[in-house]
Amino acid sequence: MRRTRSPARYAAAAALVLLCGAGTARAQDPNDPFATSGVTVTDTTGQAGRRQSNDEVQGRYRKILAAWAGGQTEKAAADLMALETSVVRDSDAGSRKKLLKAEEAVIHEIGGANIETLVPVAMLHHEVYRRYLTMGAKGRSLLLVHSRGMTRDLAILYKQQSGSEGAALVSSRILTSLGGLLQQYAQQLPAAEMFYQALELDPRNSAARIALSIVYEKNSQYQSAVDVLRKVLAADPDHAEAKLRLALNLKRLDKAGEAQKILTELAAARPGDWVTSLAIQELARLYSEKGQAANAQKALEAAIARFPDDARLYVQLAAVLDHKGEMRAAQALMEKVLALPPSPTSTTASSRLLYNTTRQETFEEARHFLDENAHSRLPLLAEALNVPNHAAIAVRVGS
């Protein structure tokens, strides 16, 4: 997979906006269509409404940031969505540009006051992007592009302008979390872009590496997946999920020997979690494919002893026994399946489903880290906007 854009390019583009003095200065430019024509506001049904001036949009955006800085999470996110939805229409590609300019003007102002304010602002756009995704892309293509682009560019800009190692960690995790959202909605290639950029900012970001390996695997680029996973394991030799994924990618590359060794180790040593269950299934499958039905049977019988409620293990063992000609023994397993307790519907996922998805747990550490970092900078944002910061006060009081 090739990268098409580098963080430096994004940063350069974003920094240009920040440094060239957008915002109020541009509003006075007679050649700026934003300043002369205003912005067309639409209602929620997509009907064009009255035009909204650049200053008006900036003013609304500033209030939204103030609400965010003041700890009014829900109001800030909902108001930003309302603002963006009122300005941007899929049928008008230029509408996004106008919104971008208005938001950038405010960001220029507060970022100039304190670069650390970019972190909570990025997280607000991240939250709005997440909400757009849950609502679906229909009629929101430009909004999705916009909110994702804002989050990404703010993250990269923050790192570029700050230059600190801490900023690199924060920015890397913002991009990782964005990639996680994209992957959750099956947008593999844009997700990969995010993970690449996250890794450039912080090469030790194992969540981004694991997620990137899944993109490779789903695109049949098994050698690339193996390379990425070996790097994860070099940094963290006990990373069980990385081992499992490495084994299955190696098997795809006809390196069954190494795959078998890893799977055997996982099957024997790990506790009874999804990685163990899957390692056993795949070890048994490997044996079956090699014509070693007795070994497959042994592995699955041991697995059933450990995971007696997993119907799939009985079915897999029945298939192995059928091929061995032991039809009656296979049939007896079906009787056991009939006696299994019902599977909880929504609270658990099978190990095979978990393997095929990037688990959101992978990104939890990144998101927790971001929440803390964004929250700790809210007073700075409030200060830059010259508004009180109730959230920060509450934290101080609480702590």
């Binding site: 799939r312 897999q316 298939a319 039809m327």
Partner: protein, 399 residues
Amino acid sequence: MSGRRVGKGLALALGLWMLGIVGAAGTGVARAAVGVQIETPAEGQPVFGSTEVKVQVGPGEPVTRVEVYVNGKLVGTLTKPPYTLKYEAGDENVQREFKAIAYSAAGQAGVATRVIKPVQIDDVMDLKLQQLFVTVTRGQERALDLEQGDFKIHDNGKVQQMVTFGKGELPLTAVLLIDSSESMQGQRIEEARRGATAFLQGMKPLDEAALVMFSDRLLKVTPFMEDKAALLRAMTQTDAAGGTAVNDFLYMSLKLLEPRLGRRVVILLSDGADVHSVVPMADVLWKTRTGQAMIYWIQLEGGEKHHSFASAWRNAKENDKEYETLQKAVLESGGRIQRIDKASELEGAFRSILQELREQYVLGYYPNDTKKDGRWHDVRVDVQRSGVRVRTRDGYVDF
């Protein structure tokens, strides 16, 4: 005729009696110095449970005792005629060697052995009735006016003698295999329930059904039952959630049907292709070919559009192959694929399949050329009428 000692050379005068032993017992019997033979169990006689062991000793030198061994273990010593004992053989189908040693007063001995081989179960399978469920259509209507003489069965090109003929009166055993993955949430699962309900309510006395609801896990399975109310209750207790594992649970359904007799059918309802199975579709095809169950696939809303995709488990090409193999399994089984565009058509689809099953002809024959060699037998049914189309299974594996 007197007893003869082993080692002194078997004189021609050994006698007709001894020759008689050899002739009767074949390879399983040894010559005896003291004339002795095992009368029962006879050659080829199945040995299970309480078994009479009857030993005959020849005239001549008096015999003082007869020891009887089974598989080298002494099971009785007889000191006077009749030399008969009861041996409890149990029900294990294994080879048993019976040995009788007769001792004379002069200290000479004669030995006879009989080896009883285990019963060849496969011999029974030679007589396996092949049943063909045949749908005959004339234009858009099913042809219901045919008689036995209208059909001709070909097995590997050879015409077979039909031994049974019936119409739709043969009871039905069905597995309703309902995809309850996340994509079936909402109206789809409701319509699926409605359709399955229509099927169950159309069942006649002696018909039985089992319900299997699956996603990437087994969500619900019931035993086969005639109790419609219980089946309906089971259906309403399950929500749609998770991924899709068609292969695993189709294999399981075929396996559940395996020990059943008569008309067996799996009705698979799924809106998508397999993603999360551990059992390959090739195994499902093999299971279809070695069994006699039909598969009907109700494919909701363009399932054909969904199959060309990549996952961590299979790339697009591999998924395409899985999909094609499923189609093959359905068609080879004598079932069919019913594609529907809207969930609201599900009830009609279930009803039409039940109606079709009721209007099938059932032809039975004992194949005259089975070898249990695992080879495929082509089956063709001709109808001696013009303008009709005939559908039944394509063949079976001689297994």
